[in-house]
């Protein structure tokens, strides 16, 4: 049974939201054949989703025309320095410097080459450079918190940044988001477009967070968590994390033109 979300103006407690999360998780476990890979759009523990999820089934469509292609981005669109979020201002940002790298693959396991990856995140104190972020944690004048890069010929992206902090939000009382980096990804087709969030291993906030838990399949959820990789870590400089991203499968045979930039 799914817990009924509170419509009371008084915010729910963490215990109430956790109970809702656990009720949905246990009803998923009870269905043996189900393997979900994506978040539920209708996921009431995330209160903002209540009026913002479609209630009717998605309409099946065979991709046509532009849907079989993705927009092209290239050297003209961005500067390679935009992949380093620690050098956007005059001074060094505060926090744990780190490299985040990995591969963007399509659903057939092929690298997505020379394609745009965009990221944005909070600073080390858990504060975004955004006027709507009211969290009374310090802004860092040396950390704007957004970056972009193109994948290389092997589908590899690589950013240098600062480990983001967790931050409070108003989903319920004493709600905190686990530390995460937002990723925006394109494939070789329009149908592969996605936005997601990368998390860090062992975060104690995982069981409490309705956005992370909206992916009800435990294996699918675990795929959102990066791996600490000492091979990526650089001596006397920064730690390293690895996170690969798999897009949905293409409907069109990938051609040479897809690898041009």
């Amino acid at each position: 049974m799914t817990a009924v979300p509170s419509t009371d103006p008084a915010p729910a407690s963490q215990a109430e939201v956790t109970a809702e999360i656990e009720a949905i998780a246990s009803s998923y476990v009870e269905t043996p054949d189900a393997t979900e890979t994506q978040p539920r759009l209708d996921y009431s523990p995330y209160r903002s989703s209540l009026l913002r999820h479609p209630t009717k089934a998605l309409q099946q469509a065979d991709p046509e025309g532009v849907e079989l292609w993705a927009p092209v981005f290239g050297e003209r669109d961005l500067d390679p320095l935009e992949a380093d979020l620690t050098i956007q201002r005059t001074g060094e940002p505060v926090g744990e410097r780190m490299i985040v790298t990995g591969r963007v693959l399509d659903g057939d396991g092929r690298p997505v080459r020379h394609q745009l990856v965009e990221i944005w995140q909070a600073n080390a104190a858990g504060r975004y450079v955004h006027q709507r972020d009211q969290h009374p944690a310090p802004l860092d004048p040396n950390f704007p918190g957004m970056g972009r890069c193109l994948t290389d010929a092997d589908g590899v992206y690589r950013f240098t940044t600062i480990k983001p902090g967790p931050y409070p939000w108003r989903n319920h009382r004493n709600a905190w988001r686990p530390a995460h980096i937002h990723f925006s990804l394109f494939g070789t087709e329009f149908t592969q477009r996605m936005v997601t969030q990368m998390y860090f291993p062992g975060d104690p906030l995982f069981p409490l967070d309705p956005i992370y838990q909206s992916v009800v399949d435990p294996a699918a959820r675990a795929r959102l968590v990066a791996t600490y990789d000492h091979e990526v870590t650089e001596p006397e400089w920064c730690t390293g994390y690895r996170w690969d991203i798999v897009l949905t499968g293409p409907h069109r045979t990938v051609v040479e033109e897809d690898t041009l930039s």
Partner: protein
């Protein structure tokens, strides 16, 4: 391979994803330029002020454009792609050209929306096999309408006039 899960775009993309002239596939005032605009609304019909729409379309000759330059517009190169954040009234607007194809491809992101949604904004009067397969009473949610500046396309995330959103064969739930 199993696709990675999507997650909501959240409330704080506004400092990161928008870029100068992101909504201008062509500069306003360009011969043939139209405004494609509308509102993003929730299940109560209230505006969604923190949504992001992306537009991807063929050129006026119906060709798929394969040119870079969307993120740094030079004012001359038509790339076929743009991005528009909604304002406080949930309104968005693109300046673009009419595609030589029946529809614009549209991606919708928003705070509160846990994964992206795909839809099509068809030109007024357009018809094709896909549209004919949609319930008659919902078909109009996929059709743009004309106004004095161009075309109007509202996105209803939920409710009586909920927009028809798409799933493609290789998508998984």
């Amino acid at each position: 391979m199993t696709p990675t899960a999507g997650q909501t775009i959240g409330p704080f993309f506004g400092f990161a994803l928008p870029f100068p002239r992101d909504t201008e596939l062509v500069p306003p005032g360009t011969p043939g330029a139209i405004r494609l605009h509308g509102r993003v609304l929730d299940g109560h019909g209230d505006p969604v002020p923190d949504a992001l729409l992306e537009l991807w379309q063929a050129d006026p000759a119906g060709q798929v454009v394969r040119r870079q330059g969307s993120l740094r517009r030079d004012g001359y190169t038509f790339t076929g792609w743009g991005r528009a954040a909604t304002d406080r009234d949930g309104h968005y607007a693109f300046s673009t050209l009419l595609p030589g194809a029946p529809f614009f491809a549209v991606t919708v992101f928003a705070r509160g929306l846990l994964n992206r949604l795909f839809t099509r904004a068809y030109l007024p009067g357009a018809s094709d096999g896909f549209l004919e397969g949609v319930d008659v009473d919902r078909r109009s949610t996929l059709l743009t309408t004309e106004d004095e500046t161009g075309l109007v396309f509202d996105v209803h995330l939920q409710g009586d006039r909920e927009t028809v959103f798409l799933s493609y064969p290789r998508h998984q739930s």
